[in-house]
């Protein structure tokens, strides 16, 4: 009996271990404590982080991933955050990720090894303070690693199995990040597949190959390795992910002739063929044929496309929650593009489809023939005047040329379709279509003093112009759609614009106006402020009324690592005024001007007849800056910050007290 049990246990151990990558398992078994040099600002160092992607059978729909990591702990903070291992698991509609096996141990600084018994593994949700390295949606398996102290190294190896419902899904290229906010001595990706499968990789930000160590002879797959990857932290006006090394990889069957990988095939045959969403949904419940009757009746190219845009917007306007789900889904955009292509062909209208990547997410890689490197698709056509007019997909309430700032002036892949439906392709640039700014105006009136309280009325107005309006246009248009709930919804929108110190439930006289390229909203609320007889002065700070105070965290003032982008930063105007029966104590420090090659910051005031009017303007002239120019950007920010955080002192007039 004991023999049987022992045999069973050995078999079980063997079968579990068999799922873990052999090379990784061997390395894990033979590893030892390593002496390494640490960075002073790091809490842990990742000695290595190796991912092994394996397709063991014939199906590309079953992918085994083994992760093998070794991490050295340098600080208490590091100990608290890294003495546990989190393994992602999920079960989605079309694919699931299952836990297969795991081993963990502690390599003590005295060179002893302490194994962790993985019986204590629990399924839970990821704690809020889990390191970025482990951030995933859904549930995780958690294992506390035994006997870890500062100076020790933890090492673990685990395998998960991802199963896709259909082989089709694995045409999708996956992205592997090589950098994050931890110093990493080695990060490697190993892809191992059977011979009937093809693997392609597209590395980004691998620094001209100088630190790249790629072994392309690794069986039927690839080994890509980077060394000494410096940590990257979020900074103001930065997109750290744009500079982190990452790669796309793609595994697909050589037997599936339908899957091609040239831009020509992409354009000519509209491949890949994905599971399309219902075509009727795209044109608001109508088939292409039915919609054509109405479109044929519409005069002129521009009006026809305007009509198409209205048709495709209607379903997501009617069901706004759907918009939240699909707005970043390139597959849905692709389905829309195909229906529009068919419609344009039937109308004998030429059309272009521009496959674009947001400035926030990266740049076009021309050698990567994959739909999945794009964020969305923008359409364009020539109107009767010969001007090129653009329109977005999946943007409810949008009009022609409503192209978000993040897509303007970006390089794109373009499919041009002539009036006969014949398609050609090339690379193109989305032009600058809209500029704009955001303006907030606050007018404070001191109405009366009742006993020990000053009573103010605050009039605020917000003006969203050009691309700043485009950012909120779907949401606001949805809010004002239903006259029964418009007041409730706009009040909740306005509440978020009022800074915390003035949170109030007394918003009244709310009015708004929506024009083609401009949205304004104004409202009033009341604020009280206590005073005592000790002092005739009271003070007000603009900071109490403007949500963005241009505060620069102390630790970001002197050091700048990343290149900067003003991608979502709008030129800003703040107008702040005050009137009441009291005198302002002038402060000449509040007049300031800073101009440099990156823009200008101006703060000024006038004061006449107990009426104070001030203005703050920030104009940013460039879209990006090098880290060495940070001090100039900081000068602009600080000029605005000094004004917004100043106190304006007022002396109450004797008349008022009486």
């Amino acid at each position: 009996m004991i023999k049987k049990l022992l045999f069973g246990f050995i078999c079980l151990s063997f079968s579990v271990n068999a799922q873990i990558n052999d090379e990784a398992l061997d390395n894990f078994a033979n590893s030892a404590f390593q002496d390494i040099n640490q960075r002073d600002d790091s809490d842990v160092t990742i000695i290595f982080d190796r991912t092994y992607v394996e397709i063991k059978g014939k199906k590309v729909s079953e992918v085994y991933t083994t992760v093998h990591r070794k991490i050295k702990i340098h600080s208490l903070f590091g100990l608290e955050h890294y003495n546990k291992l989190y393994i992602p698991i999920f079960n989605d509609l079309n694919n699931k990720l299952e836990f297969v096996a795991c081993k963990a141990k502690t390599l003590k600084k005295n060179k002893n090894t302490v194994a962790t018994n993985n019986e204590n593994i629990v399924t839970t949700t990821l704690p809020a303070n889990a390191p970025f390295l482990y951030k995933v949606k859904g549930k995780v398996k958690m294992l506390a690693i035994k006997d870890v102290n500062i100076g020790d190294e933890i090492e673990y190896i685990y395998t998960t199995k991802q199963t896709y419902d259909s082989d089709d899904y694995f045409y999708k290229a996956d992205k592997i990040e090589f950098g994050n906010n931890i110093y990493c001595l080695e990060k490697s990706l190993f892809i191992n597949t059977k011979k009937h499968l093809n693997v392609n990789i597209w590395p980004y930000n691998f620094h001209d190959g100088t630190t790249r160590n790629s072994d392309f002879l690794y069986e039927n797959g690839y080994k890509v390795s980077l060394k000494n990857i410096q940590p990257n932290f979020h900074e103001i006006y930065s997109q750290a992910n744009l500079h982190n090394p990452y790669l796309f990889y793609e595994i697909k069957s050589t037997e599936n002739k339908e899957l091609n990988d040239t831009w020509e095939d992409f354009a000519k045959y509209f491949k890949p063929k994905r599971q399309d969403i219902k075509k009727n949904y795209v044109l608001n419940g109508q088939s292409v044929e039915n919609a054509l009757d109405e479109l044929n009746m519409t005069p002129g190219t521009q009006k026809k496309y305007q009509n198409i845009l209205s048709h495709i917007n209607k379903p997501i306007e009617n069901d706004f929650h759907v918009y939240e789900d699909i707005k970043d889904d390139i597959e849905v955009a692709w389905s829309y593009a195909k229906v529009i292509s068919k419609t344009a062909k039937k109308l004998n209208l030429p059309i272009n489809f521009h496959f674009v990547i947001s400035k926030n997410n990266g740049k076009l890689e021309k050698s990567l023939v994959s739909l999945y490197q794009f964020d969305t698709i923008i359409c364009s056509f020539q109107n009767e005047d010969g001007s090129t007019v653009y329109f977005p997909l999946l943007e409810p309430y949008s009009n022609l040329n409503d192209i978000r700032k993040e897509y303007q002036q970006t390089e794109c892949f373009t499919i041009k379709q002539d009036l006969n439906g014949k398609r050609t392709h090339g690379f193109d640039l989305i032009p600058l279509l809209k500029t704009g700014n955001f303006q907030k105006k606050v007018h404070i009136t001191l109405n009366e003093i009742i006993y020990d309280t000053l009573k103010f009325t605050i009039n605020e107005s917000l003006k969203f112009n050009g691309h700043s309006w485009l950012e909120i246009k779907p949401l606001i248009s949805y809010m004002i759609k239903d006259s029964l709930t418009v007041n409730k919804k706009l009040k909740s929108f306005v509440e978020n614009q009022i800074v915390l110190n003035n949170k109030t439930d007394s918003i009244y006289n709310l009015n708004y106006s929506k024009k083609e390229d401009l949205f304004t909203i104004d409202y009033q609320y009341n604020v009280s402020k206590p005073i005592t007889s000790n002092s005739p002065y009271f003070s007000i700070s603009p900071n109490d009324f403007f949500e963005k105070d241009f505060f620069t965290p102390y630790y970001l003032k002197n050091k700048r690592i990343n290149k900067g982008y003003f991608t979502n930063e709008f030129n800003t105007v703040y107008l702040f005024s005050f009137e009441g029966n009291c005198s302002w104590q002038e402060n000449k420090l509040l007049k300031a001007s800073m101009i440099n090659e990156f823009g200008s910051a101006n703060t000024t005031y006038t004061y006449n007849n107990n009426k104070l009017e001030t203005s703050v303007k920030l104009n940013l002239e460039k879209a990006e800056f090098e880290s060495s120019h940070w001090s100039k950007i900081l000068d602009l920010r600080e000029t605005i910050y000094d004004f917004l955080n100043a106190k304006f002192y007022f002396k109450i007039s004797n008349d008022f007290n009486n």
Partner: protein, 629 residues
């Protein structure tokens, strides 16, 4: 015949009309009376004790019925969550959402299928509690600005120890009518402890004890507010004993029963003393000094065991085994306390398991209820003195009790008996923040240079922030630690950070912005160092972190010139809070002095006026000018 017919019709119409009027809800009246937000029109909680013939035991059935009116845009979130734990069996009965038409009639929007309500993990302030779940439901359609919800559920408690507190209102909720009734049962003896029952009436007859409240105003908590049990009306129901045909069982008649149950849980533990002794020896190495031994063992648990609230079922009350916590490297407060007790015992120290309610909890051990304590620590009798060791606190040292336990009663195990001891409140003089320095007005932009000194809890809080911070942010901790006290100061550098003798000092330099530099120079030199806010009628009292003194002495320099004003001994003084502010010329210098002292752990629980007067006066000092022509 026609006459009778008309009479009947008239009565019928009148009845129908009256019913309709009664059913109507005048939104304006509620808005004027309670303001916007959530108002409960009618809340009913009924508690009854039922004999279960199968188990031959009594259980409690608590029925909840709510009718809640949501007014205004704040009510966009229609999610209703009903929390429960492993000792409760929760059954949702019904939930209906209604809108109100223009004349206040209810129109059904959705009759929720409550049997499909989700069960989710419960999060409080984003902290996950494994032993708490919620059943939740939502309205599947967009709700209008004003809507009404009716829902009902019942909870069964098969172990009557776990019957604890019942609230008449919740935070951010006004209540028009509320009733909590307890159906008497001759075989179940219980006690009721009442808290904050202003405006709640109590009646009692042969069958029921009833508490009724009307028109309870809404409380809105601030970040600095005390916990809701300090001010919301509620009762704690504690079952003393139950009689059955065969026997009488004592449940929680006195605190003796509470301790007796806690002791059974401790007695079930079987610490592996061999492992623990080896661990203690490896931590202590060759240490011989007793205080150093205690310090090392305490620090080891504090630094190596991560606090994780994995408390499921009985594990919410019974500590995990000490050797298991030492191995896993994580545990809850009970696990950490138990480990510390056992490690200290291996070295011959007199360490005891100790239960305590933190300052989040406004109860004491005169109440025999599980609601009284929410934390476990280790008490240590050492050299004729008792120390309270809390390894979950990052700022505590073994001989300094953390601030969140000050003034609270501790239930200290003495094997078969127990003692109750109150943890001492610290002296304000032991927790000081001292500011000295100079503001130089002679420069175009006023400069400020300060020396800052922290002692006591200020010092320990700072030290723990630095110790447990990421290496990347460590050097910026001083700025963020001080920033609440630096209103008006734009900091350029913080330097010369030194710690010695339970004191930390810094030098700070920057610019001072509380000025008006027009044709004359005006400076507002009194620093804005009061970090606790003014409290409105709706706000609960402030929680003061610990007794403390903030003392500032700053020289204002303006090229040898002196201001017009001089302020003498402006004093605010009462037994809990005091402040004095004055200026003086001393050795040709113009000195601005201010001192704020807190001797209480919270602002008054009864009224807010005394705190607000204190706050307003201090704030008005911040607006006292010094004018230079």
């Amino acid at each position: 015949m026609p006459s009778n017919f008309f009479k009947i019709i008239t009565i019928l119409l009148f009845t129908l009309f009256s019913c309709k009027l009664i059913g109507q809800i005048d939104v304006k009246i509620y808005e004027e009376k309670f303001g916007k937000g959530l108002t409960s029109l009618k809340n009913k909680i009924n508690i009854e004790f039922i004999y279960n013939e199968t188990s031959k035991q009594y259980f409690a059935k608590v029925s909840h019925k709510y009718e809640k009116l949501h007014l205004g845009h704040e009510s966009s979130n229609s999610l209703i969550q009903v929390p429960f734990n492993d000792f409760q069996k929760l059954s949702l009965e019904k939930a209906r959402f209604y809108k109100l038409d223009s004349i206040g009639n209810k129109k059904l929007i959705e009759n929720v299928k409550v049997k499909y309500a989700d069960v989710k993990d419960y999060y409080i302030n984003n902290i996950f509690y494994s032993d708490l779940k919620v059943k939740q439901f939502n309205c599947s359609v967009d709700l209008p600005e004003n809507y009404l919800i009716n829902y009902a559920y019942h909870v069964k408690y098969h172990d009557l120890k776990f019957l604890t507190s019942f609230y008449f209102q919740n935070l951010n909720e006004a209540v028009e009518e509320v009733e909590i009734s307890i159906k008497k049962n001759p075989n179940v003896k219980f006690s009721i402890f009442e808290f904050n029952l202003n405006g709640i009436t109590k009646t009692e007859d042969e069958s029921y004890i009833r508490f009724k409240g009307t028109n309870l105003k809404r409380f809105k908590a601030l970040n600095t507010s005390v916990n809701s049990n300090y001010y919301l009306p509620h009762i704690i129901l504690s079952v003393a004993e139950i009689k059955t045909k065969k026997s009488t069982t004592q449940i929680l008649k006195t605190t003796d029963d509470l301790y007796a149950w806690y002791k059974t849980l401790i007695d079930e533990l079987k610490p592996d003393n061999e492992i623990l002794k080896k661990l203690a020896e490896s931590i202590l190495e060759s240490e011989t000094s007793d205080p150093k031994k205690i310090e090392k063992l305490f620090k080891w648990v504090q630094n190596n065991i991560q606090y994780v609230a994995f408390e499921n079922g009985i594990a919410g009350f019974k500590p995990a085994e000490a050797h298991e916590v030492a191995s896993l490297k994580y545990g809850d407060c009970k696990g950490m306390a138990n480990l510390l007790v056992n490690l200290l015992k291996t070295q011959g120290f007199d360490a005891r398991h100790t239960w305590i309610g933190t300052r989040a909890n406004n109860y004491n051990y005169s109440i025999p209820s599980l609601a009284v304590d929410n934390h476990m620590i280790c008490a240590l009798n050492f050299k004729n003195q008792r120390y309270f060791l809390d390894a979950t606190s990052k700022s505590a040292t073994w001989d300094k009790t953390p601030a969140h336990l000050e003034g609270k009663q501790a239930l200290v195990s003495n094997n078969d008996t127990f003692t109750i001891q109150t943890v001492a409140k610290s002296d304000p003089k032991s927790n000081t923040f001292t500011i000295t320095g100079k503001i130089d007005l002679s420069k175009p932009i006023p400069k400020i240079n300060l020396k800052l000194k922290l002692t006591g809890h200020f010092y320990r809080d700072f030290l723990s922030s630095v110790t447990y911070a990421s290496n990347k942010t460590k050097e910026h901790i001083p700025y963020y630690f001080l920033s609440d006290y630096l209103n008006g100061i734009k900091v350029n550098t913080i330097s010369s950070i030194e710690t010695s003798n339970e004191t930390v000092t810094f030098n700070l330099s920057g610019t001072f912005n509380h000025v008006a530099l027009g044709n004359q120079k005006v400076i507002f030199p009194f620093l804005d160092v009061l970090v606790y806010p003014r409290i409105s009628k709706q706000n609960p009292p402030n929680y003061i972190d610990y007794p403390q003194i903030i003392d500032s002495k700053i020289e204002v320099y303006n090229a040898g010139r002196f201001p017009k004003e001089n302020y003498n001994s402006k004093i605010i003084d009462n037994e809990n809070f005091s402040a004095f502010y004055f200026t003086e010329k001393m050795n040709g210098k113009f000195i601005v002095k201010q001192k704020i002292s807190f001797n209480a752990l919270n602002s008054s629980l009864i009224e807010n006026d005394s705190w607000n007067t204190f706050f307003d006066q201090i704030n008005s000092f911040n607006n006292l000018p010094l004018t230079y022509d």
